[in-house]
C-alpha cells in the first residue's frame, strides 16, 4: 500500500517535471491541424515513453517469464470476456442491435462453456469479437473528436475520448465497485499488465518502423478511432483515402 502511494507520488513528480521541462516541437516539424497542443502533448508522450521503458515493459517481461503462455491466455480471455459485456451495451447504445446480440452471445458462450471466460470458444465458433468504449459511442452519436491529446498513463487520445476514458473508468465495475481495496488494485494492475502484454511484440515493431514515433502514433490513432466509429455501419464501404498527388 505504502509502496503504491510512493510510486504514485514519484510518478506524479516525474510527470510534473516532464511538463515543466516541456519538450518543444523539434525544429522544422510542420504543425498538424489536429494537434494544436503539440508541445504539451510531446512532453506527456516523453513521460509515457519513459514510464513504459523503465517500469511497464520490464514488469511485462517478468510477467511473460513467470507465467506460461496458457495462463496468460486465460487471463487475457477473462478480461476480454468481461469487456464483451460492456461492448454489448455500447453496441446497443450505438444502435447496432445485431452486433450487441453477437456480443451477448459471446459472453453467454464464454462464461458457461468457456469456464467463466478463461477460454474463448465464441471466436472459433464464428461469433466475431468487437471492441467498443464510451469514446466510440460518443463518436457514433456525432460528437466531434476535438484536438488530439496525449494523456499521462493512458496515451493517445482526443478531447472526446478523454471524456470517454473518464466515463469508461466511472462505469467499470472491477475498477469502481469492488469494495476490497487490495483486491481492486491487484485486478487493476493485472489488467494494465495484460493490456500491455497484448502488444509486447508489436511495440518493438513500431519502434523499428517509426521515423518520428510521436507523429506516427498520433496519425495512426486519429485514423484508427475514425475507423472504429465507422465500423459496422449499414452502408459500410471500404475507406479509400485520396492522396492529393494522384499520379505523376
Amino acid at each position: 500500500m505504502i509502496f503504491w502511494l510512493q510510486l504514485k507520488r514519484v510518478a506524479l513528480l516525474c510527470l510534473a517535471a516532464a511538463m515543466v521541462g516541456c519538450a518543444s516541437i523539434p525544429a522544422g516539424v510542420q504543425p498538424s491541424p489536429d494537434d494544436p497542443w503539440e508541445p504539451f502533448n510531446r512532453s506527456v508522450f516523453e513521460f509515457n515513453e519513459g514510464l513504459d521503458a523503465y517500469l511497464l515493459k520490464p514488469v511485462v517481461a517478468g510477467y511473460r517469464f513467470i507465467l506460461p503462455e496458457f495462463v496468460r491466455d486465460g487471463i487475457y480471455n477473462f478480461f476480454s470476456n468481461y469487456n464483451d459485456i460492456y461492448t454489448a451495451l455500447y453496441n446497443l447504445l450505438q444502435g447496432k442491435p445485431g452486433y450487441a446480440f453477437n456480443d451477448f452471445m459471446r459472453v453467454a458462450v464464454n462464461t458457461t462453456m468457456g469456464l467463466g471466460g478463461l477460454l474463448d470458444l465464441a471466436t472459433p465458433g464464428g461469433l466475431e469479437k468487437h471492441k467498443e468504449d464510451w469514446g466510440q459511442t460518443f463518436g457514433v452519436w456525432g460528437v466531434p473528436a476535438g484536438p488530439y491529446v496525449v494523456l499521462p498513463f493512458f496515451g493517445p487520445s482526443n478531447v472526446r475520448d478523454t471524456f470517454g476514458t473518464v466515463a469508461d473508468l466511472e462505469s467499470d465495475y472491477l475498477f469502481k465497485y469492488v469494495k476490497d481495496v487490495g483486491l481492486r488494485n491487484s485486478i487493476t494492475g493485472l489488467r494494465v499488465v495484460n493490456a500491455r502484454n497484448t502488444y509486447y511484440e508489436a511495440g518493438d515493431l513500431l519502434d523499428g518502423a517509426a521515423i518520428d514515433k510521436y507523429s506516427f502514433m498520433r496519425d495512426a490513432y486519429i485514423q484508427r478511432r475514425q475507423y472504429q466509429i465507422n465500423e459496422g455501419r449499414e452502408d459500410e464501404e471500404p475507406v479509400m483515402p485520396a492522396y492529393e498527388n494522384q499520379y505523376e
Partner: protein, 213 residues
C-alpha cells in the same frame, strides 16, 4: 476387383495432384485482385508454417521469402510516391529510386518480425465490393488467431502488369497515411537527402540488431 481399386487409387492420386497444382497456382496478369490476395496470402502462410527456420526468426530467410512471394505483387514506387506527397516531384530520379528501395527495405525489415510470429492464425477473406471496371480496389481480410482479430486490408491498382498492392490498412490505419507526416517532417528538417540518409541508417541498424525474442 483388384484392378478397380487400383484405378480408383490412381484416380484419387491424380485428383490430389491436380488440386495440389491448382493450390500452388501463381497469380498472373489476369488474376482478379481478391483472388490474387488470397493466393499470395495462402502461399506465404503455408511457407512460414512449413519453415522452422523462419519460425525461429531467421531474418535473411524471411526477407528472401518476402522478396520472392510478396514483392512481385506490390508497387513500392507508387507507395513511396504517395507517402512523399508533393515532395516526390522535388526529388531527383536517383533519390526517388533510393527512397523507394530504402522504404521497401524498412517495411520488409519491420514486418518480417510479424511474419515470423505466424503460428495457428487463419485468414478470413471478405467478399470484394467493387464494380467490374474499377481500377483501384480494396480487398478486406481479417487475421484470426490468439488475441483480437486483426483487420488487414490491401489496396490494389490495376496496371498493365496485373493488379499491384500499393497500400495496406492494419486495424484501421493506412500505411501511406501513417507515413506522410513523418516523411514531410523529416524532409522539412533535413531535406530529401536527410530522409534518404535516415532510412539508410535505420535499415543498417535494423539489419545488425538481433531478432526479437
Amino acid at each position: 476387383m483388384k484392378i478397380h481399386t487400383t484405378i480408383a487409387k490412381l484416380l484419387a492420386a491424380s485428383l490430389l495432384l491436380a488440386s495440389g497444382a491448382l493450390f500452388a497456382q501463381t497469380p498472373d496478369q489476369a488474376t482478379p485482385p481478391d483472388a490474387l490476395i488470397k493466393m499470395v496470402v495462402t502461399d506465404v502462410m503455408a511457407s512460414v508454417k512449413a519453415d522452422p527456420e523462419i519460425q525461429k526468426g531467421n531474418i535473411p530467410r524471411i526477407v528472401d521469402l518476402v522478396e520472392k512471394k510478396i514483392v512481385p505483387y506490390t508497387d513500392m514506387r507508387r507507395t513511396t510516391e504517395m507517402a512523399m506527397g508533393p515532395n516526390w516531384k522535388k526529388a531527383t530520379p536517383e533519390q526517388q529510386a533510393q527512397l523507394t528501395s530504402e522504404f521497401k527495405n524498412l517495411l520488409i525489415r519491420t514486418y518480417s518480425g510479424a511474419l515470423s510470429q505466424l503460428r495457428d492464425q487463419t485468414v478470413q477473406f471478405k467478399a470484394l465490393r467493387a464494380a467490374p471496371d474499377d481500377k483501384d480496389v480494396v480487398v478486406k481480410t481479417v487475421v484470426l488467431g490468439r488475441g483480437d482479430p486483426v483487420p488487414l486490408d490491401y489496396r490494389l491498382e490495376k496496371t498493365d502488369k496485373g493488379w499491384k498492392v500499393y497500400d495496406m490498412n492494419i486495424m484501421g490505419v493506412w500505411l501511406i497515411e501513417a507515413y506522410r507526416n513523418q516523411f514531410a517532417n523529416q524532409i522539412s528538417q533535413n531535406g530529401i537527402e536527410g530522409l534518404v540518409k535516415f532510412l539508410q541508417d535505420r535499415n543498417k541498424q535494423l539489419a545488425t540488431a538481433k531478432p526479437a525474442n
